[in-house]
Symmetry: C2
Subunit: 148 residues, 2 copies
């Protein structure tokens, strides 16, 4: 099996290129693209910081460092959860809401460019196969969990 | 556009699940899956450490920290490049070579499981669409570079 025959080679390669693309745009706003992703995952009514990590695929320490930096820049605010004082809820500031809109535009523009560059049948095939792979990965992960 | 319609949502989601899968296996060997990937990218005749970063999609500081840890564990050796003393060349130790074989088996097993779980036509569609997306991403990145 050479690396071009490996599923993860392509998934990883494309993910890294997409990250690079978004990072180039984010750099203009003096931020990294993960800031944009975090903003897109913060709801109007606030989002518990504990629920952001799994969504972002980030380690807790790395997430909390990033949230700290975003707070220092004035894009988010962390307030204590009234129901559980050990937890914090993340809100966007007005500046954060503005940047979130930019991030949203960038994401939509990127995806529309891909949609128009690829034949419709290939796009459909993409979503179909990615969902199938996702189902398999869940199975494999469950099997691994049961082994442990 | 909801998130299921975003290309990167699926690519990122699958990449994170694959990482989690490999990390679960790597944890048994008291390592992270990036160690396995690094080992698989080290050639018998040694690999310049500067060429590992781009292959791994890792930042130089994060890569050099990881290489340091792998060296401390005795899996790799870094030797000065005789042609350019500012550079180092990474070699696998005998223990590293053994672990590399394990990593290779794990990768092949995972991919074979996916190959057998998915219909052949869907697998072909996967490689086709991922290559098409790769071509587009290169174009987008080049456009962005020209803008800057």
């Amino acid at each position: 099996m050479n690396k071009e025959q490996l599923f993860e080679f392509h998934i990883r390669n494309n993910w890294f290129k997409i990250s690079r693309y978004y990072n180039q745009i984010a750099a203009k706003y003096d931020m990294s693209f993960s800031w944009g992703f975090i903003m897109l995952n913060i709801e109007k009514e606030g989002t518990p910081s504990t629920s952001l990590g799994p969504k972002m695929g980030m380690e807790p320490t790395s997430l909390s460092r990033t949230l700290k930096n975003m707070e220092d820049k004035g894009y988010i605010e962390r307030r204590m959860d009234p129901d559980d004082k050990r937890k914090s809820i993340v809100f966007l500031t007005d500046e954060g809401v503005e940047l979130r809109k930019k991030a949203r535009d960038v994401v939509i523009e990127f995806n529309q460019k891909l949609y128009s560059a690829l034949p419709k049948t290939k796009v459909d095939a993409f979503f179909d196969i990615m969902q199938r792979i996702d189902v398999q990965l869940d199975k494999f992960l469950e099997e691994k969990n049961n082994e442990l």
